[in-house]
Symmetry: C2
């Protein structure tokens, strides 16, 4: 008899009916003979409602008090889910983050988990109870209530699975698994039966949005076998684990893309040691998140540096650059909006050096112009015109044969 951790997100517990449905899913797992720990988020829109209450009082409420406010959301869900399980005759108990032993760093709104004291959960499990834990929240050593930031409930689930040495951690969500690319855009998109932690990390960072990167990182570090599956539909999801049971010969495993990219070029900066560092520490200090960075090779006194940002940060970025023009000593800033980023991801690339070239060829064969390129060991990202994005994704999906791979049997 093993331990299984199951996480249900806000949509899955968005109404009384859905909470009852989640209770049934949990009961199925219990009836399979496993001890079950369930992590839940706040009900559907309840976080938005709480945020709007706060906004009625302050445009910039303190992070500590926002944590105090928002953590009530999951606390409502855990109690309701326990009631639903008890109503069906199952013994269950709810625990808030602090009760569950989730200890975080002393930092509000985006704290990392420092420690997990499993005593209380373990003793409830030993007593035969289903344990329902509030996701997204923890407590500091000083008894301050904290939250884990975006995707925090995923992180809670993985941390519990790691600490309890669970057999697996099921992330129930509103999609049926991890796809080769977004099925709403590409008709041939196919659900992957398995994917490695690193590939998932690249896909998560690129906006595939199924799992929070921090949760995947945590799972990787503690060897937690993750599964992503639908809370609504009964079907196998995607297993995320080390390099096992992978589809044969699948060099590229997935395709990520995002629109609203702007390329900024800072021209004729002094080509010295501190130029690059000055520029990006200035941007970071102003909370401007930079994605791809390209510095042109140059042996002259001056150099050009390009980087990409989310388009909504354009005005702010230009303002910050202008305000620091004297310190940064550049001559001119150029920018180009209306761009998109398309990336291919796959751990097979490491041993297949031709993949990037193949990607560029497919795009150029289809008349798509590449404006920026960035690569890692298991990823190639390109920036191109937003109007070319969907076409690029489609032709790449086809070229890398993502839709047609025979799926081997997975032992989930």
């Amino acid at each position: 008899m093993g331990i299984v951790v199951q996480k249900f997100g806000g949509t899955s517990v968005g109404s009384i009916e859905r909470i009852k449905n989640v209770a049934n899913r949990v009961i199925n797992t219990v009836n399979n003979g496993d001890k079950v720990v369930v992590v839940v988020s706040a009900m559907g829109k309840s976080t938005d409602e709480l945020v709007s209450l706060a906004k009625g009082i302050s445009q910039k409420p303190s992070k500590r008090e926002m944590d105090m406010l928002l953590t009530t959301g999951e606390q409502v869900t855990i109690s309701l889910l326990v009631m639903a399980l008890q109503e069906k005759g199952y013994d269950a108990v709810s625990l808030t983050g602090w009760q569950a032993g989730i200890i975080t760093e002393p930092c509000h709104s985006d704290a990392r988990i420092n420690n997990f004291n499993e005593t209380r959960i373990s003793s409830h499990l030993a007593a035969g109870k289903i344990v329902i834990v509030a996701g997204f929240q923890g407590v500091t050593d000083d008894g301050e209530i904290t939250t884990l930031g975006r995707g925090g409930s995923d992180t809670t689930a993985v941390a519990l699975a790691a600490g309890l040495k669970a057999d697996r951690c099921d992330i129930f969500t509103d999609v049926t698994g991890v796809f080769t690319t977004d099925p709403r855009v590409v008709k041939g998109a196919r659900k992957l039966s398995s994917i490695s932690y690193d590939e998932m990390l690249e896909l998560a960072n690129l906006g595939a949005g199924v799992l929070h990167p921090r949760a995947v990182e945590f799972a990787k570090n503690y060897h937690v076998k993750l599964s992503v599956r639908s809370s609504m539909v009964e079907e196998e999801g995607t297993i995320i684990e080390e390099e096992v049971s992978m589809e044969e010969n699948l060099v590229v495993r997935g395709l990520a893309f995002e629109s609203n990219v702007t390329k900024i070029s800072v021209c004729s900066m002094p080509n010295n040691l501190s130029g690059l560092s000055n520029l990006f520490t200035t941007l970071a200090a102003n909370n401007i998140n930079v994605d791809i960075i390209i510095q042109n090779v140059s042996e002259s006194e001056n150099t050009n540096i390009s980087f990409s940002i989310h388009s909504e940060k354009l005005a702010e970025t230009l303002e910050v650059l202008e305000a620091n023009r004297k310190q940064l000593q550049f001559e001119e800033v150029r920018y180009e909006s209306g761009l998109a980023k398309v990336s291919i991801v796959g751990s097979g690339m490491i041993s297949n050096p031709g993949v990037a070239g193949q990607m560029f060829k497919v795009l150029s064969d289809n008349g798509i112009f590449i404006k920026m390129v960035s690569t890692s060991e298991i990823k190639v990202s390109t920036v191109l015109d937003q109007s070319d994005m969907v076409k690029a994704v489609e032709v790449l999906h086809e070229a890398f044969d993502l839709a047609n791979v025979k799926i081997p049997q997975i032992n989930a």
Copy 2:
């Protein structure tokens, strides 16, 4: 510089606007030079909304999970009130029941406070912060979240005031103070400038409803100077304290009344040692709350016992009696509904033995028939026809001169 504890109930924090208003009231006290601890309830209807979520899942949810659910209500309020204070430039911090050190007995939905560890609040006060505490909730030694039952926020406030040795404890509510009787019913009802703990206890138990009896008891035991006042209107309230600054010669201080009383008579029970005890332990075991009890003097083998209950418990009471007829060995049950209870309260009665007789005379002079009587040292209760209730209250209010007493100056 003293410490003042202020409590604001659900109506007073029922909306964003009202929370801002409470922030202003608190700031006034702070600007007077006091250190302030504020206790708040859940926002207006939010408890009802939470209860209705629970009822959507279970008609009889577990008490532990109800506590888990309901305590989110005050947690929302404390964070919003702190935001409102911070928005106005005041340093404040919110604390849940467990963070504030409110330790209760291990019992859900109606726990008593066993202990209050003031360390955390005191250190925040020492740091110059306004401390906002979630009322109605506590935690057991084992880290289980509990609630204090009806009027629990009053109890929290008084417990904090006692533990912090506060100068006073202000209970802000939707009335301007404690009245000689219900001003919605009796036009001449007058706000009392002060009242003793014991008188307040009798009035609270009789349904005056301004303060929970448990809070008054607590205040009495720990000599906490209580004040009841309006959160909406700026005016002096009523001080509740030991026998000080009382109005002269006011034998009767207040008049309480409630309708929907039913008198039950259990006839021809065996007149033995265990009869009375059997009857009322049986009723208590079935959660039937009995108010006035009268046993007729009798030297025969059988006796009649009468008691009053709330009319909504009538059907249940009859059922319980019928089910236990054999054990209780009575012959017949009679009942009379449509009754009311009218009581006079005043600590001056102890040294004025004629007060009860005066009350009965006033009622009979006005043609009002008394069906049951019960007395304590500072209270006389009568049960009479509900149709006579308002008239009884009016004539008693006048006869005991409650409207016209000269109010002495109180040093609040």
